[in-house]
């Protein structure tokens, strides 16, 4: 090994040690800069992938398309009507809460986003979305679909963000069980067969919880927490009593392996 190589190894190791001492904010800023570089390529790749995937869809006959169009138009009208009713209900609900001196829940402001990449890492469950701080996204904001909770934003770039999925072991969510006073902490598993639509575990339930399969699990919404209350997370698959607590295995409401469009709940400012 010649002298140049030895010096280079030493210099690189010093650089590596220096990088390892960087704080999480600096590391995030560096990652955010890296996202700015790769996001155009990920968006292009994602677009190509969806175009390839939609080739079969484009083969539909004219009649099929007409029927689909009619169905979607009706559905759109229904949803518009339902939206109006829900707005009224929401306003009424807020008024009642005000009357009861509850803290007024602000209306969700949702930013629609598209999944442009699925993290190829083995040990973490994350996805990449095509929205960043330019769109008002910040770290630790809930990500959901019309079906339920998906996760929370992690590193935010200019126009791309990483979302930590609820199926990841490090994504912990305060959750409550429908129709009971039971609540606990929910998180994913470190390794599971199908990380996209895998199972979640709800820990720290009481031993007497006796949850039944099919019971729904919602976010509990702790103060200063990331997730607002009332978002559907999943349904109970099984329940077991452990030495100190009860544990439920929960099936996520959202099939994360196939989700393409999500919403990020941003702060109302």
């Amino acid at each position: 090994m010649n002298r140049i190589v030895i010096v280079l190894v030493a210099v690189i190791l010093v650089v590596a040690v220096f990088l390892s001492t960087l704080g999480s904010d600096t590391a995030r800023r560096l990652q955010s800069g890296f996202f700015n570089w790769i996001s155009p390529f990920l968006k292009t790749g994602s677009g190509l992938q969806s175009q390839i995937g939609s080739v079969g869809e484009k083969m539909k006959t004219f009649d099929e398309l007409m029927a689909e169009n009619a169905r979607l138009t009706t559905e759109n009208k229904e949803l518009r009507a339902m939206n109006l009713i829900l707005r009224d209900l929401e306003a009424e609900n807020n008024k009642l809460k005000d009357a009861l001196a509850y803290q007024r829940n602000s209306v969700f402001k949702l930013v629609p986003a598209r999944v442009i990449g699925r993290d190829a890492s083995t040990w973490w469950n994350t996805i990449r979305i095509n929205r960043g701080f330019e769109d008002g996204i910040e770290e630790n904001q809930p990500v959901l679909t019309d079906v339920g909770l998906v996760g929370k934003t992690m590193t935010v770039g200019k126009n791309m963000s990483t979302v930590l999925l609820i199926t990841d072991e490090s994504c912990k969510v305060a959750a409550r069980v429908e129709g009971s006073r039971e609540s606990g902490i929910l998180n994913g598993l470190r390794v599971q067969e199908n990380t996209g639509s895998g199972e979640l575990q709800l820990n720290f339930l009481t031993k007497m919880a006796n949850l039944q399969p099919g019971q729904k699990i919602y976010t509990a919404g702790v103060s200063n927490g990331v997730f607002p209350p009332g978002i559907l997370i999943g349904t109970v698959k099984s329940f077991k009593v452990r030495s100190l607590d009860g544990q439920a295995i929960v099936e996520p409401a959202v099939d994360i392996s196939s989700v393409e469009d999500v919403f990020v709940k941003v702060d109302d400012k």
Binding site: L19, A27, R28, S121, W123, T126, M154, V191, Q192
Partner: protein, 185 residues
């Protein structure tokens, strides 16, 4: 000229491999193991580049890999920046040591080292995560997640070698940065 062309191609290959990996779905037959292209590409570069250039390549590859996999939850960095740099330096030194044999035509060494490097990288990541989080466990699925990508690297590395050698034929010998051992004969 030869090294400059090779270096540019390497930088582009690593950058686009990181992006391409995102679009490759997990292999169901290998219990959901992912396909990792970067260690395989780096391994090839380490076997054809001079040692000093390989070290710079390790710094570049490690830094991008760390940025790509950086996982910060609640203000805590799970695996700090710099881990992959150290890994790729050590792995590169090992692979570079096999360069004479590789140049003599033992191309299968790339298969072995790619598989080894990919699996060891994942094993070290798993070890660091286990240290950071609580509760050690090791089951069949974890083993598949570590060995599966290594197996995929072993399957794909001859294709990479073939691609590089074929592409190298389109370049004049004096700037043939791709063929590795080809212009040594």
């Amino acid at each position: 000229m030869r090294l400059a062309v090779g270096s540019v191609l390497f930088v582009l290959a690593v950058f686009f491999a990181l992006i391409l990996q995102e679009f490759i779905p997990p292999v169901k037959a290998l219990h959901g193991a992912r396909v990792l292209l970067v260690p395989m590409i780096f391994c090839y570069a380490a076997m054809v580049m001079p040692a000093w250039l390989m070290l710079l390549a390790a710094l570049f590859t490690g830094f991008l890999t760390d940025l790509n996999y950086l996982h910060v939850v609640d203000g805590q960095v799970e695996i700090g920046l710099g881990f992959s740099i150290v890994f790729f330096v050590l792995f590169g030194l090992l692979a570079n040591g096999f360069q004479p044999a590789f140049r003599r035509g033992h191309w299968w060494l790339h298969i072995l080292l790619s598989a080894l490097g990919t699996s060891v990288f994942l094993l070290l990541q798993f070890g660091m995560i286990t240290l950071r989080r609580e509760g050690f466990f090791f089951n069949e699925l974890v083993a598949w997640r570590i060995l599966g990508p290594g197996l995929m690297a072993a399957v794909l590395s001859p294709l990479l070698h073939l691609l590089v050698v074929q592409a190298g034929q389109f370049l004049p010998d004096d700037i043939n940065a791709l063929g590795g051992y080809r212009d040594e004969r």
